[in-house]
Point group: C2
Chain length 287, copies 2
């Protein structure tokens, strides 16, 4: 088995390690995670290796992006198996700051995203992207990578971060990586661990439904009609749907009628006490 | 006369110039300004030369830090004399982005400061430090200097930027430079150009008053009593006082009673249509 990558908890340690690589002329990639790693995360590390000489994975369960009612406390923490998984994909360094290192006493500055952060998740998790943008901005400035890899699974997050990087001129290239799915199509997620066996069986419907919606609107069907049918199907199967929308692929503005140009179908829905999200590109027929 | 420094308006030009210096192992300093340069700004460039091999001055009148009622349109713009002044202090490069380069269509992300940004200026210019923090964050990430110099004249701004850099882990050292004053003690400011001759004569009172307050509280006098006397003196001379406060030197929290530890006296007051600010350290007697 491969050796576990070195894990550092102090910013000074991270910076001195990265500085050595820079001095040697090496390119650095960052893969931000909250741990509880699965095959989706590992695919990001593999992609990172194709874009840089060194790959840093960060593991930090960011309290600032959880509401008090959300699952911060029960979010899965699997440090030993995360390290083993990162070793298996030759990750060079694990950046695992403590909460006190990330948010020392007196911490007060926030990054407030807008544009792509409006609508969708923000309707249901109003403080979520503020917490994400702030911590990702910090991670970028702590590590100063040439490139950073995020999964398309969290598609709105990817667009929010892309916009933040552009707006604030953060010198990093943000790359989205395709969602990794289970054999039945369920998008891999650390939160899938919350699903009961019965819920897991039903969970296949979420990716099926968005693929159906994407297929319909790709053939020119009205977006509102297609999403309404999708919401009906999910609700009938026992889901509580937060949203199911067709949006512009970059600005994430809702598209009500016929799709023209790049678009995405995005969904968030509850299965029992577990909230699942997923999304898929609209492939336009006849293009 | 020294040659005018090269002035660039595109981020790609700034970055390629700075990259050449970095490749040669040179340290880079940034002096952010809004132009209308005076001796105070030039002192910042001179200080910058002692801390870096190359000095970039930015000139950008930032619309995001002016309220609609404020003086954005009439803020003095003196490009030719600014370039000549920067040549006289051997500035290496002028970063003068257009508004469209700084805030392209779709720009939406903001940096929201807190902590040092609370109170004082924020009571009267509630959006000011949001605009300042956002543009200074961008300037830092555009130029990526090793060190950045700001005048203590804008003391709360200096603390807000210091806190932002610490909170967001921006890899730059922020240095405050002493306020440069006219012979009679008036702090140099681009806005002094707005003063009539009669106002200019009265303007001496503002620095006199804060030095008196600082002297009193330094000797152990109650801060509230000393500032009340100062406000009475300024008001009697025709000023409209926004604030005159004794605050902690780093956190800028108001100090009502006796001063213990580093403290600062800060004032903002109107003389006719011109708003002047100034501040001075409290030198504690018997320390």
């Amino acid at each position: 088995m491969a050796n576990a990558p070195r894990a550092v908890r102090k910013l000074t340690e991270l910076r001195s390690e990265v500085a050595l690589w820079r001095k040697a002329g090496e390119r650095v990639a960052l893969v931000p995670t909250m741990g509880a790693l699965h095959e989706g995360h590992l695919s990001l590390v593999r992609l990172a290796h194709t874009r840089a000489d060194r790959v840093v994975a960060s593991i930090f369960v960011n309290p600032a992006q959880f509401a008090p009612t959300e699952d911060f406390d029960k979010y899965p923490r699997t440090w030993e198996s995360d390290l083993a998984a990162l070793a298996s994909v030759s990750c060079d360094l694990v950046w695992a700051p403590t909460k006190a290192e990330m948010y020392p006493d007196g911490f007060a500055t926030r990054v407030a995203p807008a544009g792509a952060a409006e609508g969708l998740e923000t309707q249901f998790r109003p403080h979520f992207f503020g917490g994400v943008a702030t911590v990702v901005c910090k991670l970028f400035l702590q590590c100063q990578p040439d490139v950073a890899i995020f999964g398309e699974k969290d598609y709105q997050q990817l667009q929010v971060i892309t916009q933040m990087v552009r707006d604030l001129d953060i010198p990093v290239e943000v790359i989205g990586a395709p969602t990794v799915r289970e054999a039945d199509g369920l998008a891999m997620s650390s939160r899938n661990a919350y699903l009961s066996a019965a819920e897991r069986a039903t969970a296949v419907l979420i990716s099926q439904t968005i693929r159906e919606v994407a297929g319909k609107v790709g053939k020119g069907e009205d977006g509102a009609a297609a999403t309404a049918a999708g919401i009906r199907a999910l609700t009938a199967a026992g889901y509580r749907v937060d949203y199911l929308e067709v949006c512009g692929a970059a600005d994430l503005k809702p598209i009500a009628g016929t799709v023209h140009g790049p678009a995405r179908v995005l969904v968030a829905a509850w299965l029992g006490k577990t909230r699942l999200i997923d999304n898929v590109a609209v492939e336009e027929a006849g293009r």
